[in-house]
Amino acid sequence: MKIYQKKYLENLRKTARISEYGNDRYKDFDDFLTDRSRRQDLLLQYSRENTGLLRDNLMPLLDDILSASEEDIRELTEFSGALMGDHKDTVLQYYISYAVVTYARKYGKRDLLIRELYQTGMSLYYLESMMRRVNLSRYCWKMRMMFGEAASFIRIYDEIEDTETRGYIHRAMGNLALTYSVLNQDGLHKKMAAIRNSLEILNDPVYQEKTPSLPWDIYIYKSHQERTAALGGLRENCGNLQFVREVMESAQYIHASQLEASRMRGEPMQPQWQYAYEAAQYHCGIFSLSDLMHALEGIYTGISPKDFSQQGMFANVFLPGVYASYMAKEPDFLQSKKSVLTYMYSRLIQYMKSAPNDRNQERLFFYLLSTVMTFVEYPGGIQLKDLAMELIAARGPLTYIHSGMTARLAKLMAEEAVEKIPETLVGIAGTGNIEEVRLKKEDICSQAYNSGFLHDVGVLNFLSLVTLTGRQWMEEERLLFQFHTSAGKKILAQSQSTKLYAAVAEGHHKWYDGTGGYPDLYVRPEGPEAILTDLVSIADKLDGMTDDKALHLRKAVSLDDAVEKICREAGTRYAPHFAALLGPLRPRLQKILEEGRREAYAEIYRMTADQD
C-alpha cells in the first residue's frame, strides 16, 4: 500500500476509537466536557487530514483510472480490501472497487473484474443494509447487476484457472439471494429461486471436483443460513408450501451442524439457530403457534440480559420483535401474552442502556429497528415514544443532546406562540380556536417538545456515517444521510403514540414554501403536523448552528448570527410567523443554549457514569 493509504487507514482507526463514545471514565463533568471538545478537535483534524490525503492522492488516480499502472491497481485493491474489513469506509471502498471494475473491463482483466464486481456488490450490500433496516431500498438493483455479472462467468468456469476467482463466482451467485427483500411475495420468490440455483451448483460434484480446494461446506452452510432469513417472509404470509419445505430443510441443516458444534464446545445451542429451527417447524405445521411462542420464551429466558455477544444481542433485541409479530397472528395472545411482551420490552430498554458502544452497533441497530417495526403498544403499557426516546438517549448520545436541545427550543417557541400568535397554533392538540389554544397550552408545548425530541430518531440508523466516516462526505453519503428523514417517518408511523411526529421527522428538512430541502417527494401535510414541523425546523437549525461539540463537525456561530440567518430565510425556508418570534425571545433562547445545553451534556455524562 502507498504511504497515504496506510496513513488514511491509521486515521480511520483513530477516528473510530475516538468516536467509541461513552466507554471512558471522567473525573468530573468539566473533565467530561473538556474531553468532548478535545475529541471533537481531534476528529476534525483527522477528517481534514484524510480528506486531503484522498484529494491529493486518490482522486486524481480514480479520475484517470484507465492510465493507472498495474502496481497502482494492486495497491488500490489492497487498500479497498482494508476499507471493507475492520475499517469500514464503505462508500470509499465502493468508489475504488467500481473504478477498478472499469479498469478491468477496459483491459480485459477477467479475474480482476470478477473479484471487483463481487467487492462492489458487497459494498453496495452494506449500504443497502442500512436502508433495509428502515424498510427502504436504494442499491438493490445495482448490487444485483454486480453479483449477477460476476456470477454469470459460471458459463466459462473452465476457462477461469484461478481458484480464488472461481470462489468469487460461487460467492457472487450465492449473494444474489441477498439482493431480494423477503417481505414481499415477488422478492421472496426470487430469493428462494436464487438460493436454489446457487445450492444446486454448490452441491454439484462436478464443480466440487473441478475446484476441490474451495471451502464448499462453508458456501453451502452460508446458503442455508441465508435461506432461514426467509422466515421473515413466511411470517408475513408471503410464502408457499415449497418455500416452507425449503426453509425447513435449511433450518434442519443448520440445526444439525450447530448441534454438533455445540456438543463439541459443550455449550448450549445458539439462540438464532434454535429459533430458526423452532419457527420452521411451526410453519411446517409440526408445531402449533402456542408451542412456538412457548419455545421462543424458552430461548429468550435462556439468555442473560447482560449477554452482549452477537447471540445475546439476537435474543435480547431481535427476539422480542419476532415474538410480537407471531403474537399478532392470534388475537388472544395479544392479551394473554401481554405481560411477557411487556417484560421483554422493559428488558430491551435496560439492555440498550448498558450495551457497549462498539462495532457491534450496526447489528444492534438492525435487531433494534426490526423490533421497533413490529412494536405492539398497550394502553398504559410501554409506548414506542418512550422506547424511541430511550433509544436516542442510550444509543446516540450526541443525537440525544441535539434532540433534547431542539425539544427545549421548540417548546419555548410554542410557549411564546401561545401568548403572542395563538391563531397560528389552532389545530394542535385538537384545538379549534384561539381560546382552546390558550387553555391547552400545556398539551401544545408538550407536543412541540416531543416533536423536537423525536425529529431525528432516523439519524440513529445512519449514525455510523456521521461518527465513523472520518473525512468529508462524498455525494453518496450526503444523499444517504438525507434518508434519515424517511427512516424517522417509518419508525414513528408504526405506533399510536408516535404517529403524530412521523410527519415532523419526515418534513423537518423540507423548506416551508416547498421550493427546497428534502425529501423531494415530501408533501407538506395540513393541520397540526405542519405546525409542529415548522416549529421544529427552526429549533433544529438554531441548535445545529450554535453547537460545535455536536454530531456534525462544524464551526458554531453566535445566537445573533443564527437568528439573523433564520430570519433572512423566513418565508422561504422557515415559517415567517415563527421566525419572527426569535428576535424578542433572544435572552431566553440564550439561556437555553447555555444552561440547557450544559444540562443536556450533563445528562449524557450522568448516563456514562451510571454504566459503572
Binding site: M59, L66, T102, R105, M145, A151, S152, E475
Partner: protein, 650 residues
C-alpha cells in the same frame, strides 16, 4: 319593371311578398305587394305602396324600428324578425337588382304543423328553397363580415408591427420581436386564405386527387410533429392509439389526407380547454384494393349542441360559442374535411353532446400495398429482445409488432425485473439482441440503469429508447446514458423491424452515415484545455478534433491565465480546467480569470474536469467562478454538449 315581373311571378302565390325599392338614402319603400301580402297585412295594396318598409307593420316602438333599420343597412340580404303588437313576423329579404329587394313575409306566431300540412306541396318546396337560399346567403354574408374581421385583425398586426420595426430599425432586438409577430400573424392569415381558397376550389369542383404511395408511420409522425407543440402549449395531453394495421404502406392522396386529419386535429386542440386531452386513433384494415383507412380524433372540449351538429359540415358555419370564446378560424375546416373525404369516396361522422367533448371519425377507402420486410425478418431470425416497459398499453402495441415478425421478447415491467432477466439470460447463455426501453420506469432512474447495462453489455449492445415525446430536449442526457437510438411511439411494426435490422451485421453494412444526425459545426469555436497530464491532453485533442473545434492547451493554471490574457476578448468559447495542477491549481486560475479586467472575464464558461469530488470541492469550484464540472476521461459528446450549453455551436 319590377312590379310587372313580380305581378306575373308572385301574383298568385300564397306567400306574402313585397317588392321594395330604395331612393336616395332613405329606407326602401314598398313598390309592389301581392294579394297574399295585402291579406297578411290586412290592408289594400294602395295603402301599402310608397310606405317605408317597417311602417307597414303599424306603429312599432321607436327603439325597435331604429334597430331594424340598422339591421337592414348592414344586411342587404337575409332574415329579419319583426315583433309587432300581436305577431312575430319573419322577413326574408333578397336583393333582386341594384336598389331593389324582394321581401317574403311569414307569421311565426301562429306557425303550426297543421298549417304546414295544408299548404300546397309545390309552394312549400318553393318556400323551402327560398328559405334555404336566404339562409345560405345570410351565412355567406355573416361569414364575409366575420372573415373581413379575421383577416383585418392579423393584417392590422402586420401593418402595425412593420411600422414599429421601421421606427426602431437600429434596435435589432425590437426588430426581431416585430418580425416574429409578423411571421405568426401572416401565418395565421395565410391559413385563413388557404381555407377559403380550398373551399372555393372544392365548391367549384376543381380538385383532382393525386394518389401516391405513402407510409403511415411517416404520415402519423408528421401530423404529431405539428400538433404536439400546439397541444403542449395549451397543456393538453395527446394519446395515440393504433388499431389494427393490415399494412403500413398504402396508396392515397397524402396531401389531402393530411389536410383532413390535420383539420380534425387542430380543431380538437383549438376547442379543448387547458388540461384536457385529445385522443387519436388510427386503423388500416382490408387487403390490397379493398383497404380502408380510419382516423378518429376525440377531445374533451365543450362539445356541440344538437342544433349545431345539424349544420356542422355546412361551409361558413360556426358555433356561436366559438365567437364568444374568441376562437379564430374560418369555419371552413369541417366542410373541407367533409368535402375532401367524400371526394375520396369516404365518410365522416361526428358525435358530440354539449359538455361531453366531440369525436370525429373519417373512413376512407384506400389501396393497401405489400410491404417488403422479408430481408429484415430473415436477418433477425431467432433474435430475442428485452422489453422494459411499465405501461401495459404501450407494451401491447410493441409486442404485437414483435410477434408479427416472429421476434422473441421478454418483458420487464420495472428496472429490477430487467436486471433479473439480464442475469437469468447471462446464466442460461441466452444473449439478448437488444434492449427496448421506456423513457421512465417506476423503480430506478433510467439515467442510472442504462449506463450500468451499457457497461455490462458492451459498447455494441443496442439500447433503444421508445418515446412519444419530442426527444431533442433530452437527447444529450440519454445519449450519455448509453442509448443507441430513439424510436418514436406509437410502434409501427415495419419501422421497428427496420431499426432492429440496422443493428444486425447485414444492416450495419447497409445503413449509411446519411441516417445519422449531422453534428453541428464547431469550426469557428475555440477551446482552452488546461491539463497537466500530457497523455490526457493528447487524448482530449484527439477525440475533439473530429468536431472541428480549435483547441489550445495550457499545462497549468498560470499558463492558462496568461494564455487567456494574451488573446483578444471573446477569443475562447470555453475553458476546460483540470483542478489539481502544479504551479497554479484550477480554482486559483478560475478566480484569476474571473478577476481580470476585460469584458469576457466574467462570461467565458469555465468547466472543471473531475468526476470524483467531495461536496465541498464542487462548491469550491462554483465559488471560484466555474460554471459546471464534467467527468474524466473526457468524452467528445460531453465536451461538445458543454460547448452547446455554454457557448453554442454554429
Amino acid at each position: 319593371m319590377a312590379q310587372v315581373l313580380f305581378q306575373q311571378l308572385f301574383g298568385k302565390s300564397s306567400v306574402a311578398y313585397l317588392v321594395l325599392e330604395k331612393w336616395e338614402q332613405k329606407l326602401p319603400s314598398v313598390t309592389y305587394a301581392n294579394p297574399a301580402a295585402c291579406a297578411f297585412l290586412d290592408t289594400k295594396e294602395d295603402k301599402l305602396l310608397g310606405k317605408q318598409l317597417f311602417s307597414v307593420f303599424g306603429n312599432l316602438p321607436a327603439e325597435q324600428e331604429e334597430k331594424l333599420k340598422g339591421c337592414f343597412d348592414d344586411l342587404g340580404n337575409g332574415l329579419i324578425a319583426v315583433n309587432t303588437q300581436n305577431r312575430k313576423i319573419l322577413l326574408g329579404v333578397s336583393e333582386i337588382a341594384g336598389g331593389a329587394w324582394s321581401c317574403a313575409l311569414r307569421d311565426l306566431s301562429n306557425c303550426s304543423r297543421r298549417q304546414e300540412i295544408n299548404e300546397n306541396p309545390r309552394q312549400k318546396a318553393l318556400e323551402r328553397a327560398l328559405e334555404a337560399a336566404t339562409a345560405a346567403s345570410q351565412a355567406k354574408s355573416s361569414f364575409l363580415s366575420q372573415m373581413s374581421h379575421d383577416i383585418r385583425t392579423p393584417m392590422n398586426a402586420i401593418i402595425g408591427m412593420t411600422e414599429i420595426a421601421l421606427r426602431h430599425e437600429n434596435d435589432p432586438v425590437r426588430v426581431k420581436d416585430c418580425l416574429q409577430k409578423i411571421k405568426s400573424a401572416s401565418g395565421h392569415m395565410m391559413q385563413l386564405i388557404n381555407e377559403v381558397l380550398d373551399m372555393s376550389r372544392i365548391e367549384s369542383g376543381k380538385i383532382v386527387l393525386e394518389e401516391e404511395e405513402m407510409d403511415l408511420a411517416d404520415f402519423l409522425h408528421g401530423l404529431m410533429a405539428v400538433i404536439r407543440p400546439q397541444a403542449d402549449e395549451k397543456g393538453l395531453k395527446v394519446h395515440l392509439e393504433i388499431g389494427k394495421l393490415c399494412s403500413e404502406r398504402m396508396k392515397a392522396d397524402e396531401l389531402r389526407l393530411r389536410q383532413i386529419c390535420m383539420n380534425l386535429l387542430s380543431n380538437a386542440v383549438k376547442f379543448t380547454p387547458e388540461g384536457g386531452s385529445v385522443t387519436v386513433w388510427m386503423q388500416v384494415e382490408g387487403r390490397a384494393e379493398k383497404g380502408r383507412f380510419s382516423f378518429r380524433v376525440s377531445d374533451t372540449g365543450p362539445g356541440m349542441s344538437r342544433e349545431f351538429m345539424d349544420r356542422l359540415f355546412q361551409p361558413y358555419e360556426r358555433e356561436r360559442s366559438m365567437t364568444v370564446n374568441k376562437i379564430q378560424g374560418s369555419g371552413l375546416g369541417l366542410s373541407i374535411v367533409k368535402s375532401l373525404t367524400e371526394l375520396m369516396g369516404g365518410s365522416v361522422e361526428a358525435e358530440s353532446e354539449p359538455g361531453q367533448g366531440a369525436s370525429f371519425l373519417v373512413r376512407i377507402p384506400v389501396q393497401l400495398l405489400e410491404e417488403d420486410v422479408e430481408k429484415f425478418s430473415r436477418a433477425l431470425q431467432g433474435a430475442a429482445v428485452l422489453v422494459l416497459e411499465p405501461d401495459s398499453g404501450r407494451l401491447a402495441g410493441l409486442v404485437s409488432a414483435l410477434d408479427q415478425y416472429g421476434i422473441k421478447w421478454d418483458h420487464a415491467a420495472c428496472g429490477n425485473d430487467a436486471v433479473d432477466l439480464l442475469n437469468e439470460a447471462a446464466f442460461s447463455g441466452k444473449d439478448y439482441f437488444a434492449l427496448l426501453t421506456a423513457e421512465e420506469i417506476p423503480d430506478i432512474e433510467i439515467t442510472q440503469l442504462l449506463p450500468e447495462i451499457r457497461r455490462r453489455m458492451g459498447i455494441d449492445f443496442p439500447m433503444v429508447m421508445m418515446s412519444e415525446h419530442d426527444w431533442s430536449q433530452m437527447e444529450y442526457i440519454l445519449k450519455r446514458s448509453g442509448v443507441s437510438e430513439f424510436f418514436p411511439l406509437p410502434v409501427f411494426a415495419s419501422r421497428l423491424l427496420a431499426l432492429l435490422y440496422s443493428f444486425t451485421e447485414e444492416g450495419k453494412i447497409e445503413i449509411e452515415e446519411k441516417n445519422r444526425p449531422v453534428r453541428r459545426s464547431y469550426q469557428n469555436r475555440r477551446l482552452l484545455l488546461v491539463e497537466d497530464n500530457a497523455l490526457n491532453c493528447e487524448i482530449a485533442t484527439e477525440i475533439l478534433s473530429v468536431s472541428g473545434i480549435q483547441i489550445d492547451t495550457a499545462e497549468n493554471g498560470l499558463k492558462a491565465v496568461e494564455r487567456f490574457q494574451g488573446m483578444p476578448e471573446n477569443y475562447y468559447d470555453l475553458i476546460l480546467m483540470d483542478i489539481q495542477m502544479p504551479v497554479m491549481d484550477g480554482l486559483e486560475a478560475a478566480r484569476r480569470i474571473r478577476a481580470l479586467e476585460r469584458k469576457d472575464a466574467g462570461s467565458v464558461p469555465i468547466v472543471a474536469m473531475t468526476a470524483n469530488a467531495f461536496v465541498e470541492d464542487v462548491q469550491d469550484s462554483l465559488k471560484a467562478g466555474m460554471d459546471a464540472h464534467i467527468s474524466k476521461p473526457l468524452d467528445a459528446d460531453q465536451v461538445l454538449h458543454c460547448l452547446d450549453q455554454w457557448a453554442g455551436g454554429d
